[in-house]
Symmetry: C2
């Protein structure tokens, strides 16, 4: 069985990155690594490493994305939970075999990483991302 | 400034622990450490360590708890995000000083640990728990 190694990140949708950073960085005290525009997700993302994982603050940059809808409906909050897996292709095959509903049956490939989402219908309401770091 | 060391756990509210474990343990493959009745939280909790953190599946055991309300309103999902801090008393004082709204101004004490919740009004909609391990 492909192995889940750790929580890679918890993604939190926010309306305004600067305002969100006044809590997560300035008050709570988690250091900001960097802010990056992520066109594939139609978002600007602030990365805040903590321990062996990250908090990612996600600001939608377009109205037609899943995170933009989430922001409009819920006003922000925890959006998805991402686990690092050693072999994402094998893990997706195992999940499919077990009847788990996948959003991405084959992983999306970006430089240095592959990722895929599992449908919340199969997880009890949690949007779960799988993430493989390519070496 | 008191230091946030890592994500201690992500708490996920579920209607049924056995059913939830068919996804988190059996399909996703995160090992179950143990299930514990936690009367202080009016819940039964399944602990699934992953990397340096844990996934906690929280099944309300009473109708009048915050998690029971969350389950009734949202049907379950990610409920709170817990960070381990080296000095929770100092961190709560810092947060209060910065105008952050706290649910617990002084930490709750349980054997081996102290914990406190920060109000979602101050975090952009995320219920944040702080946790100090007592040595």
């Amino acid at each position: 069985m492909a192995k889940i190694n750790k929580i890679n990140h918890v993604a939190i949708v926010v309306a305004d990155l600067d305002q969100a950073l006044t809590f997560w960085r300035d008050a709570l005290g988690i250091e900001l690594s960097h802010v990056e525009d992520v066109p594939s997700q139609k978002a600007a993302v602030a990365f805040l490493p903590v321990g062996d994982s990250e908090v990612e603050l996600v600001k939608p940059t377009s109205d037609d994305s899943g995170t933009a809808k989430f922001l409009a409906e819920r006003g922000g909050g925890m959006h998805h939970l991402c686990f690092e897996v050693d072999d994402i292709t094998a893990k997706l095959a195992e999940l499919k075999e077990k009847g788990v509903r996948l959003i991405n049956e084959t992983p999306m490939e970006l430089p240095g990483r592959k990722m895929a989402f599992i449908h919340p219908k199969s997880t009890g309401g949690v949007l779960v991302e799988l993430y493989e770091v390519l070496h």
